[in-house]
Amino acid sequence: MSGGLVQILDGNTFVVSDDRGDIEASLTDPTGLFSFDTRFLSKWVLTIDGERLNALSTDDLHYFETRFFLVPGTGTVYVDSKVFVIRQRAVGNGFHEELTILNHDDQPVDMTVRIDAASDFADLFEVKDALEKKGTYKTRIENNELVLGYERETFARATRIGSSATGRIDKAGITFKLRIEPHGEWKTSLDVVTAQVASGVTHNRTKHAKNGRRGASSMMTNLERWLAAAPRVECDWDSLKSTYRRSLVDLAALRFSPPVGGGRSLPAAGLPWFMTMFGRDSIFTSLQALPFTPELARTTLEVLGDWQGSRVDDFRDEDPGRILHELRYGELPAFEQRPHSPYYGSADATPLYVVLLDEYERWTGDTKLVREREREARAALDWIDGYADLCDNGYISYKRRNEETGLENQCWKDSWDSISYRDGRLPGFPRATCELQGYAYDAKVRGARLARSVWKDDALAKRLEREAADLKRRFNRDFWVADEGYFALALDADGNQVDALSSNNGHLLWSGIVDASKAKSVARHLMGPRLFSGWGIRTLAEGEGRYNPIGYHVGTVWPFDSSFVAWGLRRYGFKDEAAQVAAGLLDAAEFFEGRLPEAFGGYERSVTRYPVQYPTACSPQAWSTGAPLLLLRTMLGLEPLGEHLIVDPVLPAGIGHLEVLDIPGRWGRIDAFGRGRVDVDAPKGLRRQLGAARA
């Protein structure tokens, strides 16, 4: 995050503080200790003799642990202190903080150390929307711990704060009066434990549970194991190796173990505000990461399958067979002021569930899971032709039934103005965006394969193949903007084309719904100056009515989006074009030290020479983190075929050799190699970049 904020996390527990380690939350300052979508600490301020400290530096040890180096005294430029303070903080079940104060002087020093603590127990939604709390706060001191509490009917949350050194506890914090001898030190361990109390039945978690240094070291072991289990990447372009490593570490940080996951993890959407299960984001990220960490896909399929919709519920936009959009644990969903318990308003997660199930089996050969999830896959396929066909025209459309707090746009481009005609007008609802039809086609084709090879239901396979062929024929007729040679963004409620040119065309290539005769024209548009910025594919083409290079879904480049466009180009044989998109994105990644943001500006590369980050982009974000992984697959042309892995590399100019070693799959472990061209006459710039010259 920007603005000097420091964040560390474990699953969906995270701390956002200033660079002193202090938390002073306000509506404009979203710092705090958060867990399960609730803020458990809104104030955590360290003072010595009543004065705030000065930050010398911070040391981010790992994504779950950081260290703050501080000295007393503020407000002066010149700091000459004999007292030095270290706060080392690790997130676990709350957080554990080791506070060390060193006296470098020849004289003993007496001081009053104070931690002020408070919590507003805000729901994450409230942090953004400034809503008033309806419950009551209950602060008490119990067994030498300060307990901050909040209750609303049966809803109860508490934060327990304890210290290893004895201090005076009051309802606003802890005070330590101490003397440190010359060249001596004083230490205390502070434990902040979050507790969710359910109607007096589930009791508070034990104090200092699974917290502290031991927790941090087991997390370190876990991270090392994660990195060791992933394939190794070797390349003559160092930037790609560091981007790959960054992606793996960030993906580890973004893992989230929902209670239903049996201790296993799936990718959450993004840090810090989206550390929860999102159907769409978890599926796309799992697809990107399949050649590297297939266990993410398995957990995603299991958990999303368990939560599949089973009834009609307008408030949650739930239908039988529908895959969830988002699950939240805070006070507002609990009291049904928000529908996320879970919310089902997504039109793409359901077909994509079948796509992931098939792709997972093609890589891993895990037919057991495909059999276990047959019911869910069939229900998802039924949803496509039933509940999703709002206009009775054989296409997936969406229109929210929860008009107050539901989502208007239920496709990945979910902002209000993302779906428009060329002239900028917005269509009414229902809307049938084009990529949904591609996913539906792919789900039917892949569902047919699973039906035939695993479920042994030939009749279903034949029916799905027939439906897929029919859908493809109709789609290529109804969505094709003939005078321009691309596919319309959507059909409106009257069946008219919403005719803007967009990156969605690339998702259509990925899905396979595009007639072979139309693919070349589509690829030409994707790689043309209106969509390809030099870094990636713009979400909306330059020249469209609503085009804005820093508009969320109307002109920015989304690395996740572009990575699927590259996969789509590759699928239709446009290998050089796919490599060019990969080159642009991987160059951009280098500017962000290997961490691609959610989105960056759609400005022409030759104009800015720098990928301009979208102002409030969430980072790291799971499917941006997954993009380099998918690009590695795309460049090497990795494709499972039966029990084998096909390798058909086409590398961008500038990469001499690329190796991905120990790729896990149904073949055991296998290595993939690629050789490329290096332009020896390339001008020497400050940094070596791949795709600087536009083809």
């Binding site: 368990d306 089973s310 009609v312």
Partner: protein, 117 residues
């Protein structure tokens, strides 16, 4: 309609099979409190086959709540997961079984605009 809970469990028992629970195995104990009285239901699931009894036995998952709240859940008026989030329905044990079991609860009585196909 005070006895929606009993109807729910007796319905489960008499149907004897739930497609939504195919592939699932385990036992759930549901404890419904009404003042000082506690009513216990034990639901055994074996790949979709369901047996219901009042046996006081150990279970893989336990749900505990007030009887009137469960009546609301059984009528589709109360959402079970939201009730869990606000601490009105306590759950313990195997979460996966609980998530699969909650599929059996009906949706809200009036679903306007939605068309079941």
């Amino acid at each position: 309609m005070a006895d929606a809970s009993t109807q729910f469990f007796e319905g489960l028992g008499s149907r004897g099979h739930e497609a939504h629970l195919e592939g699932a195995n385990g036992t759930l104990r549901i404890e419904l409190t009404n003042g000082k009285k506690t009513e216990r239901w034990l639901v055994s699931v074996d790949d979709g086959d369901v047996a219901v009894s009042h046996r006081n036995d150990t279970a893989d998952s336990t749900l505990r709540t007030r009887r009137d709240l469960f009546d609301g859940i059984a009528r589709g008026e109360v959402n079970a997961m939201a009730a869990v989030l606000r601490g009105a329905l306590a759950v313990e044990g195997d979460w996966e079984l609980i998530v699969l079991f909650q599929r059996l609860f009906p949706g809200p009585p009036v679903a306007n605009g939605a068309t079941a196909r």
